[in-house]
Subunit: 735 residues, 2 copies
Amino acid sequence: MSASSPDDSNSRRALASYVGRRITPSNNSNAEENEVLDFEYFGLTPRGPPNLEDFLEVWSVDVHQNPDDINKKQHHTELYDCRNLIVRRGQPFQITITFNRAYNSGKDKFWVEFLIGRYPDITKQTYVPVYIQEQLEKGKWGAMVTSTRANTLSLSVVSPPHCIVGRFRMYFAVMTPYGIRRTARDPDTDIYVIFNPWCREDMVYLDNEAENEEYVLNDAGRIYYGKFTEITSRPWIFGQFERDILDSCIYMLDRARMPLQTRSCPIKVSRVASAMINAKDDAGVLVGCWDGKYANGVAPTAWNSSVEILLQYFQTQLPVCYGQCWVFAAVFNTVLRCLGIPARLVTNFSSAHDNDANLTTDIILDENGKKDMNLTKDSIWNYHCWNECWMSRYDLPPGYDGWQVVDATPQETSEGMFRCGPASVNAIKHGQVYLPYDAPFIYAEVNSDVVYWNRQKDGSLIKGDVKTDEVGMLILTQEIGSNDRKDITDQYKYPEGSQADRAAQDTAIQYGVKKEEAVAETAVDATLNVHVPEKVLLGTNFDVGIELKNNSSEKQHMTVHLNGCVVFYTGVPKIQIKDKTIKASVEPHQVYQAQVKIKSKDYEDHLVEQSILHFLVSGHVAETGQTLAVQKTVILQIPKLNLKAEGPAVYGREMIIVIEFTNPLKKPLEEVILRIDGLDTQKPKLKIFSSIPESATFTTKEWFVPWRRGIRKVIASLDCKALKQVVGELELNVI
Amino acid sequence: MSASSPDDSNSRRALASYVGRRITPSNNSNAEENEVLDFEYFGLTPRGPPNLEDFLEVWSVDVHQNPDDINKKQHHTELYDCRNLIVRRGQPFQITITFNRAYNSGKDKFWVEFLIGRYPDITKQTYVPVYIQEQLEKGKWGAMVTSTRANTLSLSVVSPPHCIVGRFRMYFAVMTPYGIRRTARDPDTDIYVIFNPWCREDMVYLDNEAENEEYVLNDAGRIYYGKFTEITSRPWIFGQFERDILDSCIYMLDRARMPLQTRSCPIKVSRVASAMINAKDDAGVLVGCWDGKYANGVAPTAWNSSVEILLQYFQTQLPVCYGQCWVFAAVFNTVLRCLGIPARLVTNFSSAHDNDANLTTDIILDENGKKDMNLTKDSIWNYHCWNECWMSRYDLPPGYDGWQVVDATPQETSEGMFRCGPASVNAIKHGQVYLPYDAPFIYAEVNSDVVYWNRQKDGSLIKGDVKTDEVGMLILTQEIGSNDRKDITDQYKYPEGSQADRAAQDTAIQYGVKKEEAVAETAVDATLNVHVPEKVLLGTNFDVGIELKNNSSEKQHMTVHLNGCVVFYTGVPKIQIKDKTIKASVEPHQVYQAQVKIKSKDYEDHLVEQSILHFLVSGHVAETGQTLAVQKTVILQIPKLNLKAEGPAVYGREMIIVIEFTNPLKKPLEEVILRIDGLDTQKPKLKIFSSIPESATFTTKEWFVPWRRGIRKVIASLDCKALKQVVGELELNVI
C-alpha cells in the first residue's frame, strides 16, 4: 500500500538509523501486518503431528456485516459502502461461529483475538485476546455466549469505549495440550472500529439524536462565504459513507505515522488530522494555493465534494492540488464524520490571519490620508472556514468539553501552524488562551482590532482610529436538519463592549495576546459614510456613495480618497481599479454627497475566484486634523447554474439532469470546465466547453441512475479563467 | 546566503503559490534586505538637483564596537569574537557621529533608523525610526544627545526590553525641505541585539550575578551520563562566543522562516530552536542516529564541542551527521546562551521515552518468569539530556516563571515531537501537565512506573510487580562555577511517596496522563537481591551476585533467570550475552547465593558507544507463585585519554599538549580517530591512527598558540569501531 511513494522510502531510511533507539519500529499503520502463528507450540512437541481431532475446530465465522443484518443498523453504520463490518466502540456486536462439533463450555477453551498493525502488543491494546465471560464487563473488551445451536455458537462481543480506532484483524484461538491453534487470516472478517457518539462512555458522546443525525450521519451540507452583510453559500458533498472513504481516512493517519495505540483519543486523532489535511510538511491530502492560477490542478472553487479529493489521495498517495480554506474544512469534515467524531464546518466572517496572537491589523494612511499600499502589509480575510468537533477534554480543567475548533488551513505564523487545535470554543470565549492547543491564534482570528495609522513626513506613525468591531463579525454554521444557517457568534464572543467581553479580553491579554490601546476619543466634528449597493450583479456598473457630514458650527474643508481594488478572499489586493480624490468644503451642520461610478470594464478582466471588490475611503478634515476612514466590500453576484430533473427520481432507474447557464460577461468564456458531483458515488462527471460566447446560454443533459434512496444532492460547478465559483444544485428525493 | 540549498528553492516555489494569501512574503530572514532610499523626495521636486549644502551631512559613525571600548563591556558581550557591535536589549549603548558641521538642535532634524530583514514595517517593529529626545523613555526605542564637541555628537541609544533579537542595519536620516537624506548602507555599523538577563524588564531577567556568569557567560561545561549510581561526565565546549556562532544561531532561526517580529519572545525563540536543533522536518542542525554505525558522519560520542557542528551547518547549509541526546542538548545550550537566554544542560537518569504521556513502561515475563524478548517493546533510557532555559511565562497563569524545559531530541510520539517545550519545571513538579508546551511528555519521562507482566499460556497477561521508583531517579545539572554536579531532582518531583507527590500525580492523571494501578501487595515471602560490582573496567571479567532469601517458615523452590544484554543508552538491547537459569530450594529463613561470571570475551565484540550491560534477573517461587524481578545496569569503565601541557600556557605563545592512551582491549583498535577541540577557535584537530595494537600505549603531541586569556579547556575524544566515548581534558590557565 505504501511501497510506491518516495516519501516512504525516506522514512524507511530514517527508521534504519533508529535501530538502537526503539526495540521495534513504531506500530503506526493499519496496512502493515504481522503473521500470526497457525499453531503455537508449547515447547513439548509431541512425537509426530499432534492428534487434534478431539479439539474444537472453527469451520466458519459470520460477522453479520450486511447493511440489513443486525450489527450495522445498531451501530449506525449501515450507510457505509463497505463490505466489512463497521462497529462503533463501546457497543456490543454479534458474531456467529460454526465449529466442527458442538461447543462444550466445560471442556473447550477458545477465545477471539483482535490485532491491529504490525508488532501488536497486549500492553498497547494493539493485540487483544478476548476470553468468553459470563457477563460483559463495562469498559473492557469482552465476549459472551448468547446462544448455541448444534455446531453453531453466537457471541456478543464488545470493545471498550476507549478502543483504538481502525481496522482490526480477527482470529479464533483454541487451546490444546500441545499449543494454541488459530484460524487463518481472513480479510472478510476484518472489523473496523470507529468512534461512538451514541455511547455515554465515549469521549465523543453527544446526547442529542438530532445533532448526531446532522453532525455524524449527514453526508452533505452547505458552506457559507462572502461577507457578513451578504452571505453566499454553496452546497458540498461530504460523502463520508462512500466506498473507500473510511479506508482513505485511515490511510491518512497511517501516512502521518500516528502510533496505533494513540488512536483511541479523539483529541490526538483530530490534531493529527488537522496536520494531515494540508500537504505542508507531511505529504498530507491537499496542497494550498492562493495564486489565482492553479496550474496543473483543480481550482479550489471547482470542487463540489470531498470524495474525489480523498480518493485521489488514497489512490495516488500524493497530495491533491489545490485547496483553500473551505476545501480544507470540507475535507476535514468528511474525515471527522467518517471516523465517528461529530463535526461541523464553521465560517468566520472578517477573519484576522497569520498574526501570531497579535490582536492588531494595521492599515497605514499617508500624510494625505490615502492608504499607503506599500506600507500596509496586513489583511483581513473576508471569511475563513474551520471545523468544530465535539468531544470531552480530559486534558483540560473542567468546563471545556463540547465543541472544539480544529483548523486544517496552513498558517504562516512563527509556529508554522500546519496543524491547529483542538481548542475549546468555551476557552476562546473566556480568553483562556493558554489552554492547549493553539487557542491564541483562534482567539485573534475572531477578536482583532483594526488600527489606522497616519504616517508623518519623517516616517513616524501616529495612531488614528482603532476599530474594535471589524473582525469576527459573524460566525456561522449550518442549522440542524435544514439548509439554513445558524449564528454561533455568541459561542465565541460575548456581546461587543459588554463587561464579560472586556473580562475575556483582559484574560487573553494577560496570557500574551497583544493589543494596541485605542487613542483617547477626539470630538467627532465630522463623519464619513460610504454606501455600496446591497447586490451587484457581475458584469454591471454601480455607484459607491460617499457622504461627508460637518457636525461642527465651523466651515470644514474635507479631503477623502477612494481606493478600490480587486481582492482575493484573503483581503490581499490583486490590483487597484479605482483611485479618486474628492475635496469638499462643507458648511456647518451640512452634508456633502458624491457618487463614484464603478464600471464593469474596470473590474471585469481582473476578477479572481470570489469576485470581491474592496473600497477604502479615507481622508481628513483640514481644520481639525480629524482622520476619516471607512472600508466597504462588494461581492459581485455570479449567476448560478440552473439544474432541473427530467422525470421522477427512482432508485435504480435511469433519469436525466438538465444544466443551464448564461454567460453574464460581455466577452466569451474560454475553456470552461463543468463538474457535476453526486451522479456517481466515486467520480465527478466533467464536461469541457471550448468557448461560451458573450451573453450566450448553454444547456446540457446528463443521464444517471440513482443508487441510493432518500434525499440526495446533485451539485455542479463551472470554472474558467474569467469566471469562478459558479455553482448550482438540485435536491432529489429518490424513491 | 540561502541560494544554494535545495530546500530553499522549494520554499520559493511554495511562496509563489501564496500570491493571493499575503500582501508581502513573511519577513523572516536577517540575511535578506531591502534597499533603502538614499534620498526620499517629498514629491515637490525642485528644479535641478536640490541644494543640500545647508543641511547636515553625516561624515562618519563610530559605534564603539571594540571589545575594550565602552559598549561591549557594559553589555557583557566583550567575549564575542565578532567585529560588529553586540548589545543586549533594554540597555543604552553609545554611538558617536561626525557631521560636516556642528549640530544645531534648534534647526537640524535628524534621526537614526534601525531596520531588520526584508519588507521592514514600523507596525511590526522591523523598521524603527529613533528620534532624538530629551530623555530616554523606559520600554521604548530612544536616543538622546550625551555630548557635542565641534562637529561630533555623542548619542546614547536604547532598544526596548522586548526588542526583536537579530542583526539590525543602521541608517541616519536628515530632514531637508526636499525630502529625507539617508546615509548609505554600511555593514560595519550593523548592530546585533540579543536577550538581556541583566535587564529587569527583559523576560529572561535573572537576578543573580553568579548564575548569569554560569548560565550565560560560561562557554564550557560538563555533561553527565551513565547510570544514577555511577555517574560519568564529559567536558564540552559550548563556544557560544566563537566567531560566526551568533550568525549561525541567527541563520538557524532564519532557516526556520521564523517571522522577525516574533523573535522578541524567548518562549517562541526557544520553541522554534528546539525544532531546529534536530534535522527532522525542517532541515535543522543535527541528524539523530542511534544505529551504532554512523556511516558517512561523525559518531555522536566523538564530538567535544558545539562549535564545529554549528559552523558546519552554517557553512554547508545542510544538517550535520550525527547526534544523540547529549549532542542535541549541548548544541541547544550554545544557541540559547549565545542569544542571551540563560540556559543549562540537564540529565535525567532512567528516563521513560516516546511514550505518549503514558506513565507505564511494560516488561513482559513468560510463564517461566523469563523476560520475553519478543513481547517486551518498551525501554527506559539509561539517561536522557535536555535543557532548561530561564524566562518569565506571561502566557501561563502566575507561578510558572523560572526554569523551563526544552528538549531538542526528536521523539517518536503521536505528535511527532520534533520540538518540545518550553514547559515550566514548576508545572511538571505539580502535575499541571495541561500548561503549554508538551508538559505531559516531560512529566512521563521523570515519573513513569515500570510494570512487570506475567504472560500466561493462553497469551493473556497478569500484572505483577509495579515499581514506582525506577524512572526519573536523579536529575542533574552542573554546579555554578565548578565542575561538580548539582542535584535538581527536587525541582521536578516531590519525594517519592509523599503526600505532595501523590497530589501531583493525581493532577497529572486527571489531565490525561495514563497510569496502571498497582496490584494489591502480596506477602513478601521471598526476596531477590542482585549485586553488580560498583566499577568494572572494560576488558575485565566480573561476577553478578544473586541472593535468594526465603522469609517464610516453609521450604521454597525458587527459579530465577539471569538475562544479560549489551544495550544502547536508550535501553534497547543490542544482543544477549548471557542467559542462565538458577534453581534453588531454600530452607525457611535461609539465604541462597550464586555468582554468575561475565567474561570480557562475552561482551567485548558487541559493545556500542556507551559500553552498557543490562541484567534482568527474574523468576518465581513455586510454592507461592510470587514473582521476583530485579534489573541492574553495569557501565564498563573506559580508560581516559591523558592530556598534559608541556611548558606554561601564555597568551600568543606556542605550547605543546601531550596526549597519551593505552588500549584496554585484548585486540588491536583499527582506524582510530583522535579529535582535539580547544586548540583553535574554529576547527578540531583530527589525527588518525590506522591501528593501535592490543594493550599498547601511544603518545602524540600537538603544538598550539593560546588565543584567549583565563581558564581555557582542551578536550580530546577517541573514536573507533571497538571503542567509543573515550575522552580526556586539560584545563589551562592562560596568562
